[in-house]
Symmetry: C2
Subunit: 469 residues, 2 copies
């Protein structure tokens, strides 16, 4: 790849090379430098001319639940998102529905430049064939919880019933997922352990999950302090807030990828950073679901490592890392009433090199340096959203990527050394067919929820009837 405006994301900033080139050998980057030097030093079998392109590492979406994508748009602008918004549909979501929705979600994210997916679902193994087929990188976890099946809708304020035989079986599934997928497809897949939250399984089982992870040197991907709902459960059940509880059980360490931290206070955030815990910050979903901004700047200020995540489609409602970058920067400027907070270059790092480090993939992806996997995107620098490009003396590209790009300007994508998107089309899937298949499944789901009267609890049904939706 030659003649690119190249943002390698190497070093402390964005690692810009004005007329840059990347040499790729197999799945990995062999060399990076100025086009003139690289043309002199390397003899390429194939040369991709990137004139007119901005070239970046593929984007990292560190926390997603693609299995519930079919629920997009049914739980925003309301209180009790999970209980009143999600559950009426989710109880009708079959395995086939989850699979059909997930494919559209992954396609949507790839269309906007995501190459690495931190997917986290029930029955995760059923979604992995999507990633195989599409050629994407996935770092996945089974969602482990001890909620008994068929318990009916959860009610706000009610202590959940927990049955750790349920959770133990899910831990076993996570172990099997690890055995089958860790390092699979030449290292494109890796597996973490996924307790759904400290409130959703018992303390012994949570220790078992950590033991299984530690034994395999795997990370633990867990929602932590994700909302007042969780904190209430923890206080009712254990008399402690989530982070104090985890610390008292020795469960805060570099193996933990803590997601959200919506309810974490300053002391808790400081403790997490001190313990080497990583964070996934999901601005869009927490903004819509809770109207809140988690303490990500405080966490970064204490030296913590943070990635960004699009979370899930019933709250957000999209998987597009340009959206997350812009929201991350703007929400935190607003939270602190200060336009200097989380500048564009910093959130671009969170979606690339810093995100990779937080996700435990710092040695593999996130920047364009020799030895890392070749996960690369090309952005059309002639897009109206990026006009004009200023290069001389003061460069305006990074702010415009973060604050102006919409996602469809990504026209080409390579993952693991293979081209998976060209001219804005994913090469290994028929996107229209995937949308049509998901549509059919969604209608089945909605029809069941409707017939069984489950939607009566959702305010969105009332708003629909009143003509507001």
């Amino acid at each position: 790849m030659v003649h690119a405006r190249l943002f390698t994301m190497d070093g402390p900033g964005v690692g810009f090379i004005p007329d840059g080139a990347v040499a790729i050998s197999g799945s990995r980057i062999a060399a990076v430098g100025r086009t003139a030097d690289m043309r002199r030093d390397y003899d390429a079998a194939e040369i991709v001319d990137c004139r007119g392109d901005i070239v970046l590492p593929g984007l990292i979406d560190a926390h997603m639940h693609t299995g519930i994508a079919l629920l997009r748009g049914i739980a925003q602008d309301m209180d009790h998102w999970m209980q009143l918004g999600i559950w009426p549909f989710r109880r009708h979501l079959t395995s086939e529905m989850a699979v059909a929705g997930s494919l559209v979600n992954i396609i949507e994210a790839m269309q906007a430049g995501t190459t690495t997916f931190g997917d986290y679902n029930s029955n995760m193994k059923q979604l992995l064939p999507h990633y195989q087929r599409l050629g994407a990188r996935a770092r996945v976890a089974e969602m482990i919880h001890s909620l008994p099946p068929q318990q009916g809708a959860l009610q706000p304020g009610q202590l959940y019933p927990l049955d750790d035989t349920v959770g133990s079986a899910l831990l076993e599934k996570n172990i099997q997922l690890y055995e089958r997928w860790q390092g699979a497809d030449d290292g494109r897949f890796s597996v973490l352990f996924g307790p759904q939250g400290p409130d959703l399984l018992g303390p012994e089982l949570l220790q078992d999950v950590y033991a299984a992870a530690r034994q395999r040197q795997a990370m633990v991907h867990m929602h932590v302090a994700q909302g007042d709902r969780e904190i209430l459960q923890m206080q009712l059940r254990y008399g402690k807030r989530s982070i104090a509880y985890l610390d008292s059980h020795g469960l805060l360490g570099p193996e933990l990828l803590a997601v959200h931290l919506t309810e974490a206070n300053t002391n808790e955030v400081k403790l997490l950073a001190k313990r080497g815990v990583s964070l996934v910050y999901c601005p869009g979903s927490i903004g819509i679901i809770d109207g809140l901004v988690p303490p990500v700047t405080e966490f970064l200020g204490y030296g913590g490592k943070a990635a960004l995540g699009s979370d899930q489609l019933p709250g957000n409602n999209c998987s597009n890392m340009w959206n997350e970058m812009k929201l991350a920067a703007l929400f935190n400027k607003i939270k602190h009433s200060d336009p200097k907070v989380l500048p564009a270059w910093k959130v671009l790092r969170m979606a690339t090199v810093d995100g990779a480090a937080a996700l435990g993939l710092g040695g593999e992806v996130g920047s364009l340096v020799p030895g890392k996997y070749a996960d690369i995107i090309r952005v059309d620098a002639q897009a109206t959203a990026l006009s004009p490009i200023l290069d001389e003396s003061l460069r305006n590209i990074v702010p415009n990527l973060v604050y102006s790009l919409r996602g469809h300007e990504v026209h080409w994508m390579m993952i693991h050394g293979s081209v998976v998107m060209a001219e804005r089309r994913l090469l290994h899937v028929d996107a229209a067919a995937a949308v049509a298949a998901a549509q059919k499944k969604a209608e089945e789901m909605a029809s069941k929820a409707h017939q069984e009267g489950d939607l009566d609890a959702s305010p969105l049904k009332r708003w629909t009837e009143q003509g507001f939706l």
Copy 2:
């Protein structure tokens, strides 16, 4: 237009018609209803099949400065946006540069569904040929201020020099603009009067501007309480805050379209609503420039009418009404820590029917009802960002339009009864050529700013040198 999922935006909600049709005669809407009824009652010369489309009124961007589009990406993540970010470039912005940048800005906005432009610039008349050529609707104002030319960069904290002979000449330009363009092109163009802010011209001249507007039954488009910079100027010069000053001069009334209100307090907002003033809320630009959320929900709570605006590209950094809608909803949920604040349907109304009313175009555009102009957009309902579509019992389309759409899903646009975009391409302009022309002008501008050392005050130059941009 038949077989559409039609959101007319008529009535108090979104005016949904499931298998809807719109009959158009000349520049106006003749009838709206169910396809079956309309096919029976009307005999159309041409029928557009909108199966697979979501059909909406064209979007209204009520406040823009397209003349400074060439400055995109040079003033964010910093303090003193105007003085340290904008001025070093703006003093080199020639008329030709402004014209070239504006065209790209208008194209970008139209590509995402904007049909009505509230453009507000110095030397506005030079930009109107763009709107004529592109077929868009424009409601414009000359920017009237009394800042003497060649005064050098404004310094933070310094009282501006004001010379009302400068402002008087600009008022004269605004009057000429009105005479030439008010009602032009069969009513597609209209003209307001545009004092730049209460701090930027003297009290007698501001009265003259209002008199000129009132005499012509035109509105006044003015920045009001747009930042602490303005409030400081007002207090230093008049010993009053902006809104008290305007009220004491009898300048708060239904003819005023007040932009921003960033610094307005609760009492001031209540007074504005009581006086019948309309508001343009610009979430993206104020979020980036100031890290603030103006009191829009309070204003709406007091019964005020509000539109949305994308403002300008050096702060925002894009003109895309889907972006403004999402940011408006999310910023205010966060400001009030409440996910119920500014629901999707409400911000969609702000970008359509309520925005039209605020802008004084309530009888002309903003909803699909007989008699209004035919400004209509079609959105591809098969886009991944909208998948799946739920119609039965609970409709998820509006939340997904607002929270998930990126803009390129708008594939067709009609303004004033004429098709101006089809298959995602604007019919009357070569977008690539416009981008190339703007690029050339931007390089001239940046080169001059660089050569004359003007960029030294911008932190972005330092960040570029340090490798962060």
